[in-house]
């Protein structure tokens, strides 16, 4: 055996390479801070802690579907069905408890099982029948909107169901808003827990690393002997579960179900994931980036609310321009970090 040792320095210093990975998320966090302090400087009452707390209250369901979407996008896929699955789950919660009179915990369990099962089905169709994820999940978008409307064409209240009171039960910190404190309901904690679990799963389990591997190069992952089928189907299972969980959280948040709710939620989730620095081509990104992306999305809305004089159309245009500014910024950074390998 030759005693000679082969050494190679990375094409760039590892310090820098380590950093390159964090540039998109760093940009998101920087923008988040810029927006926040810009708001504080410009608007009265923007510095209340409850402003931040509200981001976690109002965006809890979005956060949960965005986490599911992160898994799917990391694996190189996309899931357009989440908004409809979410609406369907909320509606099912209402219908089964109010109309059918089933016990609420059972209903919630059924809904979660259902969402997971849908993810399993569509994941299997995508993997085994090689149907493009965009189309397979677009089917879900139409199907569940239709089924939701078939259950009920009008909104439905479930405020009489005791169980659904749990979600908005809240914890006060610092003695309520007026004393400069803030409050957070249980459902926000649930959403934060989902992020934490997703973080651990993505970074510290074989399944999570498999998601990155499949998103990086599916063919290689297969030849490395990784369980590609299980991983690819798994991400849709996660996304289906997250979508139905988000539906349940939405049920907790309003105790009502509306068949037309969450139209376009999948696009909000995709936007949040992209803002969070995850590449749509798969393999690169972080779930904490998605958290930051959702916060940016929510903060933009908050700023528009505080501004309070944007007409409906200016609000939309401002949203679009900010998204554009952000994406160009991210793209510029990515391009400067690009390198030609030999």
């Amino acid at each position: 055996m030759s005693t000679q040792t082969l050494t190679e320095r990375p094409a760039r210093s590892t310090l820098f390479d380590g950093m390159t990975r964090y540039i998109p998320i760093g940009a998101t966090v920087a923008l988040l801070l810029a927006l926040y302090f810009g708001g504080v400087a410009n608007y009265r009452n923007f510095d209340k802690p409850q402003v931040i707390a509200n981001l976690f209250i109002d965006n809890a369901p979005l956060l949960v579907i965005a986490v599911g979407m992160t898994f799917v996008i990391l694996s190189g896929g996309i899931d357009l069905s989440v908004g409809s699955v979410m609406a369907f789950s909320t509606m099912t919660c209402a219908w089964l408890t109010v109309e059918a009179g089933l016990s609420a915990p059972l209903v919630v369990a059924l809904v979660l099982v259902f969402g997971t099962g849908w993810g399993l089905l569509i994941g299997a169709v995508i993997h085994y029948f090689n149907v493009q994820p965009f189309i397979a999940t677009l089917v879900g978008l139409f199907l569940f909107r239709g089924l939701t409307l078939q259950i009920s064409t009008s909104d439905m209240s479930m405020r009489e169901v005791k169980f659904f009171q749990w979600g908005m039960t809240h914890v006060e910190v610092g003695g309520g808003i007026r004393q400069g404190g803030f409050w957070l309901p249980y459902l926000s904690f649930a959403a934060i827990a989902v992020v934490a679990v997703a973080f651990v799963v993505l970074h510290y389990t074989r399944f999570g690393r498999g998601v990155y591997a499949v998103g990086g190069n599916e063919q290689s992952a297969l030849l490395m002997g990784l369980p590609v089928a299980r991983t690819k189907i798994g991400v849709y299972v996660v996304s289906g579960f997250c979508a139905s969980l988000a539906g349940v959280l939405a049920a907790f948040a309003t105790k009502s179900a509306d068949p037309l709710r969450h139209v376009g939620a999948e696009l909000d989730a995709i936007a949040a994931v992209v803002i969070g620095g995850t590449l749509l081509t798969g393999g690169a990104g972080f779930v904490l980036g998605t958290l930051a992306g959702v916060m940016v999305w929510g903060l933009l809305n908050t700023l528009i609310q505080f501004q309070g004089n944007l007409s409906s159309w200016w609000a939309r245009i401002v949203m679009g321009v900010l998204l554009l500014a952000f994406i160009l910024l991210q793209r510029g950074l990515a391009r400067s970090g690009e390198k030609r390998r030999t």
Binding site: N130, L143, G146, W313, G320
Partner: protein
């Protein structure tokens, strides 16, 4: 040699189109069974062709225009989510220009309105293309921006109102008129279809598009102006969406910035995929897209004709698309039609590639 080439091409097309055509025939058969041959057979009344199927074609014209543009975009491995918003912008600009004029029947004004709307939508399309080709932004993200902001722009144009063009204005002929008894929207859609087919298949544009979509880097090294072509394709797509918006606005005599062409991008993408063009880029099939559009158009009527309530619209559409998508999957067909032949659990990636290479 020439014959052999044509035969193979014909076969390739026939294979791609077989499933969508079958689905369309089934839908038409269902309608005929329910409402009789009147469904398919047009009649002339008041000097215009009418009948259920003609109406479907007329109403599908805007979707067809958008889906055709979308086909070209998808051929380059792209996607355009902004077409619905562009549709609204085109409609808003045209109607607003006309109602701002003094004489709504003046040909000059209408010509100007149409021209401004088409130029604006072409510019928007080119902007999308520039973002994709020159800034290297993923198409889905680049066009998402205009999808969000576009309707805002359309509302800005109309000031949030729904501008109503006088019914007497010749502008409405674009949507309501007829030439030789055939409704104008069908003429426009057919003309654009023919123009795009000629443009892509009579020139080398189609092949270059497929090359750019199939392998962008190889295309660049082969000396193709891939960036220019990408911009051109998004521009055409924007133009198609704007034209569709004009037809829609002319048909109604008004422009609804909020609801005009809402979610039409999803239907257009569905039509393209039903028509056999892969979202992964490369080969594209304009005729397939047209069939896909007619399937989607027929579906809506079928639901009402067989007596299902409106809520079934989404569900039935989902089921039909699912069936077509599965039928187009070779893996699915192998699984269903050859139940006795076991397949390996892990589908080999692109087995065809291995055939002769190894």
């Amino acid at each position: 040699m020439n014959n052999a080439l044509n035969r193979v091409l014909a076969n390739q097309y026939a294979r791609r189109l077989m499933w969508p055509v079958l689905v369309l025939l089934v839908l038409i058969a269902v309608n005929i069974a329910v409402t009789g041959f009147d469904f398919i057979w047009p009649h002339v009344s008041d000097g215009r062709l009418s009948g259920a199927f003609v109406n479907i074609l007329r109403r599908s014209a805007p979707l067809l225009l958008i889906a055709l543009g979308m086909t070209l975009v998808i051929a380059t491995k792209g996607i355009d989510l902004s077409v619905g918003a562009v549709y609204a912008i085109g409609a808003a600009i045209a109607c607003q220009t006309i109602i701002d004029g003094t004489d709504q029947s003046a040909a000059g004004l209408i010509f100007r309105a149409v021209a401004i709307a088409l130029v604006a939508t072409a510019v928007i399309g080119a902007w999308n293309g520039t973002m994709v080709a020159y800034f290297g932004i993923q198409p889905i993200v680049a066009t998402l921006i205009l999808m969000i902001a576009g309707r805002g722009i359309a509302q800005l144009v109309t000031g949030g109102q729904i501008p109503k063009v006088q019914d007497s204005s010749p502008f409405t002929e674009l949507g309501r008129g007829e030439i030789l008894t055939v409704p104008v929207p069908i003429w426009i859609a057919a003309a654009v279809f023919a123009a795009l087919v000629l443009l892509t298949r009579r020139t080398a544009l189609g092949m270059l598009l497929e090359a750019v979509g199939g392998n962008p880097e190889a295309s660049r090294l082969a000396g193709i102006r891939s960036k220019g072509i990408t911009v051109l394709v998004y521009l055409v797509c924007g133009l198609c969406a704007g034209l569709a918006g004009l037809i829609g606005a002319a048909n109604l005599g008004s422009a609804d910035a909020n609801n005009g062409g809402l979610w039409i991008e999803l239907d257009a993408i569905l039509a393209v995929v039903i028509g056999g063009t892969s979202l992964l880029g490369g080969r594209f099939y304009l005729l397939g897209t047209a069939i896909g559009v007619v399937i989607i158009g027929t579906l809506g009527d079928t639901i009402i004709n067989i007596g299902l309530s409106d809520q079934w619209q989404f569900t039935v559409k989902a089921i039909v698309v699912f069936i077509v998508a599965l039928l187009q999957s070779p893996e699915f067909r192998a699984w269903v039609f050859k139940p006795f032949k076991r397949r390996p659990a892990a589908p080999a990636a692109a087995p065809a590639e291995e055939v002769l290479a190894k």
